[in-house]
């Protein structure tokens, strides 16, 4: 399965881009002559030049280093945020698809309930509401992403439930009944391996989603600000000027163009990877080849 994956151009390109981003995020802040926290009052809002490749920020920090430093937190946020989504979605999906009508009804109704929340508006209010509570800005950000992640589970749940139901109706699952396997053994040996591809693909897509949500939160000014305290490392969303700020959007295009492009590059590579894996895992696609 994986040997074939490497022939797929989508996976190759996606993986290549992702590796470049991950290596830059790890290496560039260490190797660059600038530090992300270096504030230079004489170099505010400098346009991109040979000295500052991506220009400088409002505080005169080098944007190039800041972007790769920001990637550390953004990628960590995406990695952490995807965990509740994957675990809750998969477990409840398997539970609901396992065949117990009552359990299925309760879990499905609960998921429909969660699914009806207008998530973006609520997360925006949440971000502002949480500001009033004494809390580290990072904790607020992680809490928002955590809640977003939990409330997004229905999208994964639906897929997993339908797939589990399909697998349960297969012939080989009837054979396991005859073999006398217990529920746990069936789930571990037959259902889980069959679901793995769906879980991996959805997790990759959701990671891309979290990156964008983080950006949106900062874009409307719900995140914390670095200007108050330079000892806080930036994240991708944090680097762009928010809409409540000054006229930086039209005047100093590089302050938003490069951070958003970094996010776009990451999300595109994640999408390429997930799309490629979907094609690689899909038996129907193989037959057509």
């Amino acid at each position: 399965m994986f040997g074939r994956s490497f022939k797929n151009p989508l996976i190759l390109v996606g993986l290549f881009l992702l590796l470049i981003i991950v290596f830059s995020v790890i290496l560039i802040p260490m190797l660059s002559p600038y530090q992300w926290s270096d504030v230079d009052g004489t170099m505010k809002y400098q346009a991109p030049s040979s000295e500052h490749w991506f220009g400088t920020t409002r505080l005169g920090q080098d944007l190039f280093v800041n972007i790769w430093q920001g990637g550390r937190i953004s990628l960590a946020l995406a990695l952490i945020g995807v965990i509740p989504y994957t675990i809750i979605g998969t477990l409840l999906g398997i539970l609901s698809g396992a065949g117990n009508k009552k359990v299925d009804f309760v879990v499905s109704q609960f998921m429909t309930f969660i699914h009806a929340f207008p998530l973006l508006p609520l997360i925006m209010i949440l971000g502002i509401g949480l500001r009033q509570i004494e809390m580290e800005p990072f904790q607020i950000l992680f809490l928002s992403v955590f809640i977003y992640s939990v409330f997004s589970t229905p999208s994964l749940f639906k897929v997993i439930r339908a797939e589990t139901m399909r697998i349960h109706s297969e012939e080989y699952m009837k054979a396991t009944n005859i073999l006398g396997l217990n529920r746990w053994a069936k789930t571990r040996n037959h259902i889980f391996p069959n679901l793995a591809s769906y879980v991996i693909i959805s997790s990759l897509q959701f990671m891309a989603h979290i990156l964008i949500v983080e950006l949106l939160l900062f874009f409307i000014g719900v995140g914390y600000s670095t200007s108050a305290n330079q000892s806080r490392p930036p994240s991708w969303g944090n680097l762009i000027p928010n809409i409540r700020g000054d006229n930086a959007f039209k005047e100093y295009y590089w302050t938003w163009f490069f951070p958003i492009s970094a996010i776009a590059l990451t999300t595109v590579s994640l999408r390429l990877l997930s799309e490629g894996l979907r094609v690689a895992f899909d038996p129907k696609a193989e037959r057509a080849n």
Binding site: P9, Q109, T112, F113, H115, A116, F117, P118, L120, P121, L122, M124, I125, L126, I128, G129, L130, Q132, I133, A208, I212, L215, L216, F219, I220, G221, I243, R244, F249, K250, Y253, W256, F257, I260, I263, A264, T267, V268, L270, R271, L272, E275, A288, N289
Partner: protein
């Protein structure tokens, strides 16, 4: 009947939860718009405190929520303090503008994404398919306002004055009043070009893969082959047998997607200062207009509910297995 009753019960439960959650969260904000005018005019703190006490703003959240709920039952959703008008009177205008923007973008997106998806499916695994796939992937991978910002930058730098980049009408014309309806339509359409393009790209990116996969499902079906071998013209096979069947699942996906797509355009409205619901929403959040915030959240929730409901209903109609009795 039983089904509908459960649906209604759950819908009302959801709406109650959402309004309570919104109420609770907006209540955490220290400032409420009802007395921000008093603050700006520099009234003493004692007067503001007296006003708060009189309006019952110092009551516990639950008391306030029940008060809001009782008023809402009579159709009173509170006041929009910035203009001192009832929310129910002020909001529909903005809602209409949002729907106008999204509706036009939707029609544009549909009329592009269906041919694009069909093309991509017919040319499966050819280079044009890959181009469409990669493009749609890029369109959906970036935040919706990214293209908006890029076009604003491009227009503002390269050709200032060609296309308006903010608002929904020329300021002078709006202030004086439009001389005729046609001028107004033209002016609004002119202001809509950039936001529609920026929303449309994301929608095209979202919808095209669905059209493509729906087409692919159908194209390899036996009945299409039968129709071809019967000697029907390609044209007839395509429109009567392939496209029609491919679009059925697509429609139910649309019903589910539209509310979410409209919600995610809050940010596009903000970037282009389009005076729609999303623009009003963000401004109300920051100004502490809790009544307006709750009303708009309620609108979004109802939209999502309707979308889910329609999708369920359509899904049940198309999938005979779900009608019950067949299996």
């Amino acid at each position: 009947m039983w089904r509908i009753a459960t649906k209604v019960f759950f819908a009302s439960l959801i709406l109650l939860t959402i309004t309570y959650a919104t109420f609770f969260l907006t209540d955490l904000q220290p400032r409420h718009a009802s007395y921000s005018k008093l603050i700006y005019t520099g009234r003493p703190t004692s007067e503001i405190e007296a006003f708060k006490e009189e309006q019952g703003l110092n009551d516990p959240v639950n008391t306030k929520y029940i008060r809001w709920l009782n008023a809402a039952k009579k159709g009173d959703l509170g006041t929009y303090y910035d203009r001192n008008k009832p929310v129910t009177e002020y909001l529909p205008k903005f809602m209409g503008r949002s729907f106008l923007l999204n509706g036009v973008a939707f029609i544009v997106a549909i009329s592009i994404s269906i041919p694009l998806g069909v093309l991509s499916a017919i040319k499966e695994r050819k280079w044009s398919d890959y181009v469409v796939m990669v493009l749609t992937m890029i369109f959906t991978s970036v935040p919706s306002f990214y293209f908006g910002l890029l076009t604003i930058l491009w227009v503002a730098r390269k050709m200032p004055g060609l296309l308006p980049i903010s608002g929904m009408g020329t300021t002078i014309l709006v202030a004086k009043g439009y001389p005729s309806l046609w001028v107004q339509i033209f002016d609004v359409a002119h202001h809509m070009i950039l936001p529609v393009a920026s929303i449309g790209l994301v929608w095209i990116g979202t919808l095209t893969p669905f059209v493509r996969s729906a087409m692919l499902e159908v194209i390899h079906q036996d009945y299409v082959r039968t129709a071809k071998s019967k000697g029907l013209s390609n044209y007839k096979v395509f429109f009567k047998h392939t496209l029609r069947n491919a679009l059925v699942p697509f429609i139910s996906i649309l019903a589910m997607l539209i509310p979410n797509l409209i919600i995610s355009n809050i940010f596009v409205e903000q970037v282009f200062s389009w005076p729609g619901m999303g623009w009003l929403y963000i401004n109300s959040i920051w100004a502490g207009e809790s009544e307006m915030v709750i009303a708009i959240t309620l609108c979004y929730a109802i939209m999502v509910l309707i979308g889910n409901f329609v999708a369920d209903a359509l899904y049940m109609r198309t999938d005979a297995r779900l009608k019950g009795g067949a299996h």
